[in-house]
């Protein structure tokens, strides 16, 4: 069974069709990268998967449970406890972190596990410290986001998402807002998560990284999956739009 299944998803913004009948599925433990030109709908796809954006058509399910479905104008979005449960399956790391500026690093990470998931404080703190260590931020737990570099903020944001123990973690261009010299540290951290067998869907413009980390790559173009396969297959494909897209990076 797929962990995430998105079937025939359609999404428009005031008449502009951004996702055109797109289908993707993600297996448990898989690392999927989504690449593609600006405006091709990558962020919109992640925002639909994480229910930040409502779909206009299609069906989204997690572990076989339908989270959202819109068919023939009939809209169904799970609500209440079921919604909470399904939402707890996924986490999202934003391009611009969206840390809570008025919370310390530690509180950013621990507040939701303690007050949303109602887990014991001591246990949550212990886990958070382990996560911070993993992120190379063990000395920053009392710092505030404004005292951190972009790369450090993003690593806190990753720790914050992981603290809720999601089954699948989405990344929307996690390094695009960073200075070039800071992208390496964040990519290294994401890579270290791969060893933990966490399911990840990563939208990125870091081609070498995507090629290196992914089990599978999707090349999105104009709201559809234009190409899909292993890194070798996708990067090696004789696909005009793909080669044009790659050309921009090599130039």
């Amino acid at each position: 069974m797929s962990l995430l299944e998105m079937k025939h998803i359609r999404k428009s913004f005031d008449g502009l069709e951004v996702l055109k009948d797109i289908s993707i599925s993600v297996k448990e433990g898989e690392i999927l990268s989504i690449i593609g030109p600006s405006g091709s709908g990558k962020s919109t796809l992640l925002r639909c998967a994480t229910m930040l954006e409502k779909i206009d058509g299609g069906e989204i399910s997690y572990l076989g449970e339908v989270a959202a479905s819109v068919k023939d104008g009939k809209e169904l979005y799970v609500k209440g406890e079921k919604r909470k449960q399904i939402s707890s399956y996924f986490g999202l790391v934003f391009q611009n972190f969206n840390l809570f500026p008025h919370y310390s690093v530690m509180k950013n990470i621990t507040d939701a596990p303690i007050h949303v998931q109602k887990r014991p404080r001591a246990e949550v703190y212990e886990e958070a410290r382990a996560l911070l260590k993993k992120m190379g931020l063990e000395d920053k737990e009392n710092a505030y986001p404004c005292q951190l570099s972009g790369g450090q903020c993003q690593r806190v944001a990753i720790a914050r998402a992981l603290a809720l123990n999601p089954k699948i973690l989405f990344f929307d261009e996690p390094t695009s807002a960073l200075d070039p010299e800071l992208t390496g540290e964040v990519l290294r951290v994401i890579k270290s998560l791969a060893d933990l067998k966490i399911t990840m869907v990563i939208v990125t413009h870091e081609m070498a990284f995507a090629r290196d980390i992914s089990d599978r790559i999707i090349f999105m173009d104009k709201g559809v999956v234009a190409l899909e396969g292993t890194p070798q297959e996708v990067f090696g494909a004789e696909h005009a739009r793909m080669q044009e897209f790659l050309g921009k990076f090599n130039a």
């Binding site: 229910m51 930040l52 934003f94 611009n96 969206n98 809570f100 008025h102 939701a112 949303v116």
Partner: protein, 204 residues
């Protein structure tokens, strides 16, 4: 004695108007159209007419309508008038503060599983308070000036004026006309400012 009374007016007005402003804000952004319209009109009247005039209405309204004894409710009238007036200003300050919080904060909270009220109380409100503090401070300073004025004018002299008016059997019509004039003038100013705001709305 006078100073003590002024302080009391000041403190009570703040005590009532700061939370009331939040209630007014929620009315202002209510999805129920008639509610948001009524609140908008309320805010525009409160901000568009002088506080002194509003106080006169709270003062003489009950007297003219129900022949109530002004001496019995004058303190209540001052607190009521000041609180309703300041709540309107605070509501607009809160609104600009809340609107300045990036959408990403709500989205991050949603992804972490916070409910709507948790998000507002834990994530949004503390940031808003920090942002609006300078503007609130300005209002509070204005309130200090207003209360001393209110006290000296309405608490002492107005009482005498009220007696004269009552004796002369005149009406409040001149006050209302004066108020209407102020209101229209401020309405035009507010309208022009709103145009500016819209012009600047192309970025956040």
């Amino acid at each position: 004695m006078g100073f003590g009374q002024s302080c009391l007016i000041f403190a009570l007005t703040l005590l009532f108007s700061l939370p009331l402003g939040m209630v007014v804000y929620f009315g202002r952004v209510s999805r129920i159209k008639p509610v948001s319209w009524l609140v908008k009109i309320y805010i525009s009247i409160m901000r568009g007419t002088p506080l002194m005039l509003q106080l006169l209405i709270w003062y003489f309204g009950p007297f003219y309508l129900w022949k109530m004894n002004i001496g019995g409710y004058k303190f209540t009238a001052i607190i009521l008038g000041c609180s309703l007036n300041y709540a309107a200003y605070f509501a607009e300050i809160y609104r600009s503060g809340i609107e300045s919080i990036p959408k990403g904060q709500y989205e991050a909270a949603q992804l972490l599983g916070y409910g709507k009220s948790q998000t507002f109380l834990k994530i949004i409100l503390p940031q808003v308070i920090k942002i609006v503090l300078p503007s609130v401070t300005n209002e509070v300073i204005t309130l200090v000036k207003d209360t001393s004025l209110v006290y000296s004018v309405s608490y002492i002299e107005m009482f005498a004026v009220a007696k004269q008016i009552a004796a002369a059997q005149t009406t409040v019509l001149p006050f209302v006309i004066a108020g209407g004039f102020y209101y229209i003038f401020n309405f035009v100013v507010a309208w022009v400012m709103e145009l500016f705001e819209k012009k600047l709305d192309y970025y956040h």
